[in-house]
Amino acid sequence: MTTTPVDALELVGLVRRFGAVVALDDVSFRVAAGEMVGFVGPNGAGKTTAMRIALGVLQADSGRVRWRGRDVDAETRRRFGYLPEERGLYPKMRVFDQLVYLARLHGLEREDARSQADRMIELLGVADRARARAESLSLGNQQRVQLAAALVHRPEVLVLDEPFSGLDPVGVDVLSGILRRQAEDGAPVVFSSHQLELVERLCESVVMIDRGRIVASGRIADLRARDPRRLVRVEVAGAPERWLDRVPGVRVLEPLAEGAVVELDGASESDVLDAARAAGSVRHFSVVRPSLSEIFRREVAR
């Protein structure tokens, strides 16, 4: 898939205030067609607000949302797929009817809508519940129907707010596969998540937001390359409490059950290994790349 520079979903200079609170402060990022982007940040950072504005559910105080180089209007947004953070289905409506209805609202003809609804419930493994009322479904199945609702109209653009929360490992795999296929078919896919390992596994690029500001965005590999830190993961059995604190030139980033991920701040890898051997029997020792959460913490702190 070749992408021209404008073949992308672009959020440009979005500002949104709620009373005195600035929820979005000049938020800009782009998701190219065919690209899957993770949108990460702590609770209340502005992810949901940005996504709602992208879908026109909420109005921005200023800024623009563009798709393929043009400002999006209601007609364009109809071809977007959206999974809101607050899931919602008609409790008393049958699953199949619900999907047909939403597909119709996105502009599909009746027959097309019906066959798409069939396809989606098959794809998400809820075909046996097609005639059931949404309220009678388990939470996991409701979540699958919700995803089907976001995808039923063959959206050109996918904006998903926490799509993986509430899914079991099988559901996560199914959804990962679906999203990859959507991206391969040329849709820009952006989803928010707190499961950073998952984002790292699925996405080539991320957008990091904190307190309404974009703190970093781009390819994960590039962000990692920008991170000059050298990290070591070390695990030692039978070591005294807090033995790492006594090793000079080392800072603990992430404590583990029998050790930690440490940043080398003056010490060398072999200094740490020597200290570990002195402390007890070494179970694990490796030089590691900063994880997405470590990159995020560093970017926020900058």
Binding site: R52, L55, G56, V57, L58, Q59, A74, E75, R77, R78, R79, F80, Y82, P84, E86, R87, G88, L89, Y90, P91, K92, M93, D97, Y101, L102, R104, L105, H106, G107, L108, E109, D112, A149, A150, H153, R154
Partner: protein
């Protein structure tokens, strides 16, 4: 594949189909129709033309009875004369209710407890005339002279406000119509409000708003529910009309059809006005439990208008009824009665419709604004707050 089209018909269709499919709706419609048919059949059974059974026994009774029957027939009352063997038999018949009264020897009237006034009055009148006739003949007048003197024409009755059978029947039909209108406006208004709350509380509204404008959502909802209400009203009207004609209780079917038309028309006028307000009541809360509170002003408004509507069926030209038939919130429940009873002048009808349409046209944009702005706000929303210029 995807085409530009209007979304509100799709929304209206869902509202209509999902609600018509609802088991509760189907059952309550069926119950309404059964009740209506039952009331029509039962009241027809009670409304047969007045008829009395008169037992006659002893000398002269039979002849007098025959004259009573003739005199009664002239007044549109049926009297069936039963000839019995003796007084004991007559007492038994009256006591058992087989006869409403017994005439004994043309000289005594037997009744059970409460005398049937109309029958007794007839017997008395005929008896007085017969006895006067005999007294005058005994006094020496010829029977011809007596008859000429006694057989006088009845005094003509001039009603100041002629209540003909047709308007009596119309009053009954329009009374039922106002009853139905009240129930329909309230029930379907409530459906709009609770439908709005359902979308808000289930959060499905956010999915909808990503592809539909709030104004279309509101328009589709009100239209779909309104069409269902109109359809149900039409069904009730047709079943009522059919049942009434089947039991022969309608002497003026064309009048009933016109009244049903009036009721349907004013349902449309009233529903859009009230539905917009009910939508606002629904949009400012998130839970069904809170809906009762925000609906209270509307409930009072409809109930008050309904009572004025009821008084208008007996007193359609009172000042209260006249004023209420012009106000947009009460006119749907008052004006149909005044029109059906011929008490509304043309200008009043035109003014009432114009005010109703105008008020609805004024209410809809305000309601749409409040609705649109309140939809995504959690909890109880203050109307003043969302109507501020920066409220969106």
């Amino acid at each position: 594949m995807t085409v530009r089209r209007r979304m509100w018909p799709i929304i209206a269709r869902r509202e209509f189909v999902e609600r018509a499919r609802d088991r509760g709706f189907q059952v309550s419609t069926a119950i309404t129709l059964v009740l209506l048919t039952g009331v029509i059949v039962i009241s027809a059974a009670f409304n047969r033309p007045t008829s009395f059974d008169l037992a006659v026994v002893g000398e002269g009774s039979e002849a007098l009875g025959a004259q009573v029957r003739v005199a009664a027939a002239a007044l549109g009352v049926e009297v069936v004369v039963l000839e019995l063997a003796d007084e004991a038999e007559a007492r038994r018949a009256v006591d058992a209710g087989e006869a409403d009264a017994a005439l004994v020897d043309a000289a005594e009237i037997l009744v059970r407890a409460d005398p049937p006034d109309q029958l007794v009055g007839l017997i008395q009148a005929v008896s007085v005339r017969e006895r006067s006739r005999r007294a005058l003949i005994t006094a020496g007048l010829t029977p011809e002279e007596v008859d000429a003197a006694l057989l006088q024409a009845r005094l003509p009755v001039h009603a100041l406000e002629p209540a003909d059978a047709r308007s009596r029947e119309t009053a009954t039909v329009v009374f039922v119509g106002v009853l139905l209108l009240y129930g329909q406006l309230f029930a379907y208004g409530y459906w709009v409000a609770s439908g709005v709350v359902e979308e808000k509380s289930s959060r499905v509204v956010e999915v909808l708003l990503s592809t539909v404008r709030p104004s279309h959502l509101l328009r589709g909802k009100i239209l779909g529910i309104g069409l269902l209400g109109l359809g149900q009203l039409l069904l009730i009207g047709l079943v009522g009309l059919f049942a009434s004609s089947a039991v022969g209780s309608l002497d003026f079917p064309s009048g009933a059809v016109a009244t049903i038309g009036l009721v349907l028309g004013w349902f449309v006028l009233g529903f859009f006005f009230y539905a917009s307000l009910f939508a606002v009541a629904g949009s400012i809360v998130t839970r069904q439990e809170d809906l009762q509170t925000t609906m209270t002003p509307l409930t009072i408004l409809i109930l008050g208008s309904f009572f004025i509507g009821l008084t208008a069926t007996s007193n359609p030209d009172s000042t209260l009824a006249t004023v209420a038939s012009l106000l947009p919130f009460s006119s749907p429940l008052v004006m149909p009665t005044r029109i059906a009873l011929g008490e509304a002048s043309t200008w009043e009808v035109v003014a009432s419709i114009a005010i109703s349409v105008g008020a609805t046209a004024a209410v809809i944009p305000i309601a749409t604004t409040i609705y649109s702005r309140a939809l995504l706000r959690p909890g109880r929303v203050q109307i003043r707050q969302v109507l501020r210029p920066d409220g969106g």
